[in-house]
């Protein structure tokens, strides 16, 4: 027995490592971006706003690893500082929409009947507004920047989490363990939040991860359109916008580097999300 079991273990471990290789790289990359964002002043070699008109649109050099933009600002430093807004926006939106979605979905799924019908109708109406469009409307009302779009996107993404939670809770409600709690005399709010909620969190978590990628792209798009983070401040989206002028004269780096960063972060986040949903299982698959 022990002789047979011994060689099988390392084999299994090896295969596990092989399949998760992409995940390891993704998590490593995301950790790197996060550290750069948190410690931006320590990581960035230059100030993101330092203009050097003698070194405009330079390619990569020993001082400027990723080159400089049309005003001679260091692209690497701007990328590092830009990662702050690139990550904060989506993190706030994802947190807010997940909390709102969980609560409203839990309420709808648990209560059923009229409350369910009303909340579901509200979800339908919010879903009629594409997130980016709602964000643009918010900017038109409250002005450019990060705050108005982030609030608008938090509202726009709530129904995605809310519908999912509602569906999960509605099926979970009829499970035996809920009946068991009821028989024991636990109150409905207690069962809903303490017993049912934890069983729902896993699946909602993988949807949340997926939303993070969408929100990141949409906020970057908004800033690319000139409606998000404003010009002197570095943000990946407005860096692409500013870099477009250099693009036509054949200098690709200022626009291409932030573009690649957006794509890489989204791919990395989605790979983590994919792993999460594999691990937790999709009940509707």
């Amino acid at each position: 027995m022990s002789i047979q079991a011994a060689p099988r273990l390392p084999l299994k471990r090896q295969s596990l490592h092989k399949t998760r290789w992409g995940l390891v790289i993704s998590i490593g990359f995301l950790a790197l971006v996060l550290i750069a964002a948190i410690f931006a002043p320590l990581v960035a070699p230059f100030s993101p706003a330092a203009v050097d008109l003698l070194r405009v649109n330079s390619g990569p050099t020993p001082q400027h690893w990723l080159g400089t933009d049309a005003l001679g600002r260091d692209i690497l430093s701007r990328m590092v500082y830009g990662s702050r807004t690139a990550l904060t926006g989506p993190i706030v939106v994802v947190l807010a929409s997940t909390i709102l979605g969980l609560l409203s979905g839990l309420w709808a799924g648990w209560a059923g009947g009229k409350i369910d019908a009303i909340i579901s109708r509200i979800f339908d109406i919010v879903l009629a507004f594409p997130a980016l469009l709602l964000a643009i409307l918010a900017v038109a009302l409250f002005g450019k920047g990060l705050i108005a779009p982030v609030i608008a996107m938090s509202i726009a993404y709530t129904p995605y989490i809310g519908r999912l939670t509602r569906q999960l809770v509605a099926t979970e409600k009829n499970r035996q363990y809920v009946a068991a709690y009821k028989v024991q005399g636990f109150s409905a709010p207690w069962i809903a939040t303490r017993a049912v909620m934890p069983n729902v969190l896993g699946v909602v978590g993988s949807q949340t991860t997926q939303n993070f990628g969408y929100v990141l792209v949409e906020l970057a798009a908004l800033s690319f359109l000139g409606l998000g983070i404003q010009a002197p401040k570095a943000d990946w989206g407005n860096m692409i916008n500013e870099g477009q002028a250099a693009l036509v004269s054949g200098n690709f780096l200022p626009a291409l580097i932030p573009s690649i960063a957006v794509v890489l972060v989204v791919v990395a986040v989605n790979s983590v999300g994919g792993w999460l949903s594999d691990k937790l299982g999709d009940p509707f698959a």
Binding site: A128, P130, A221, G226, I240, L247, V248, A255
Partner: protein
């Protein structure tokens, strides 16, 4: 209600009636959603603190004529509900009020911008349908081979490319390096416009092609494994006819559902592509109107896009059973 019948097929009137009822319900909820959206779009202005005149005149000199003009456009001296009524009845007859920026009717400004956006959406719709279906069908026919794997890999790559990144990359390669296509403007005349719209449409289409390709592949594979396909094959139906009549026809349902959502997404993303390629479309009009604080135009475009968005989704819902009659049985069957 009537007792359950052994075979519903004997009474063709019933399913049709049920279908009509379902359709009426969907149209009803379409009208309700659009109505509530119009209320939200109109009254969103009240969320901004301060009086409406100074909100509408942000960034403009508040001289008496301007104040009089804005008051007249919005009927600001009337109660809010009457203002909404005047606005919505105007909208229903194609009158969206006046643009503060262009000093023109909003409807005229929008009509002038419509051709470019429609061209963009139609062209990338065609690209998505042709390339997405082709990639998905090829992958499903070549299932398990290196070609299938290559298509899947490039689909996952494409799916991660946002339209502004696609625009940057396409401009760098095809406009700057190769000089094959223009990188700016929408040209003059019909054919020139189509030529100018090729790169923008592709930039818009890229990630959507990947989504349609994936859905097509998995829907096709599911149908391939069905019994009726096996039966058709053993009856000696030619492989091409099997694919077209027995597999693709049945796979269209899920493909259509996804496509509906995508076309709606195209409308919003077109703003990004229009900005990147300097196209004078509806999306860039929306952005410049936000930029220049021209709220009447913003309101009109948001309402139009939301209505189109909801209309397309309703249409897909309604078309589903027509394309795939198995859906017509509705909830009762399964």
């Amino acid at each position: 209600m009537a007792p359950p019948q052994a075979s519903g097929a004997k009474d063709p009137g019933k399913p049709v009636l049920a279908g009509l009822k379902l359709a009426a319900g969907k149209i009803g909820s379409f009208i309700f959603t659009v109505f509530v959206s119009s209320v939200i779009v109109f009254f969103s202005r009240w969320l901004v603190p301060g009086d409406p005149i100074s909100f509408l005149l942000r960034g403009r000199s508040p001289n008496p004529e301007a104040i009089a003009e804005v008051t007249a456009i919005y009927g600001l001296d009337k109660p809010p509900l009457e203002q909404y009524w005047n606005w919505i009845t105007g909208v229903l007859t194609g009158d969206f009020g006046r643009s503060l920026q262009y000093r023109q009717d909003v409807s005229e400004v929008i009509l002038g911008r419509l051709p470019v956006t429609l061209g963009l959406v139609v062209m990338s719709g065609i690209m998505i349908a042709v390339l997405g279906l082709a990639a998905g069908i090829c992958a499903s026919l070549l299932r398990g081979t290196w070609a299938d794997r290559a298509i899947i890999a490039s689909m996952s790559g494409l799916a991660a490319i946002p339209s502004f990144v696609g625009a940057i990359v396409l401009i760098a390669i095809f406009a700057v390096q190769l000089g094959m296509f223009p990188s700016f403007g929408s040209g003059t005349g019909f054919w020139d416009m189509i030529y100018h719209l090729i790169l923008p449409s592709l930039a818009l289409a890229l990630s959507f092609i990947a989504v349609v390709g994936r859905v097509t592949r998995s829907a096709m594979l599911e149908e391939f494994s069905r019994e009726h396909v096996e039966v058709a094959r053993s009856r000696g139906v030619t492989p091409v006819a099997v694919v077209i009549r027995h597999v693709l026809r049945n796979a269209l349902g899920p493909i259509l559902t996804v496509s509906g959502l995508l076309v709606a997404g195209l409308l919003v993303s077109s703003a990004i592509v229009e900005q990147a390629f300097g196209l004078a479309g509806l999306g860039s009009l929306l952005v410049s109107s936000v930029d220049r604080l021209d709220f009447p135009v913003v309101q009109a475009i948001v309402l139009i896009v939301v209505t189109a968005f909801v209309a397309i989704n309703t249409l897909v819902d309604l078309l589903g059973p027509v394309i795939d009659p198995r859906l017509k049985a509705g909830e009762g069957a399964r």
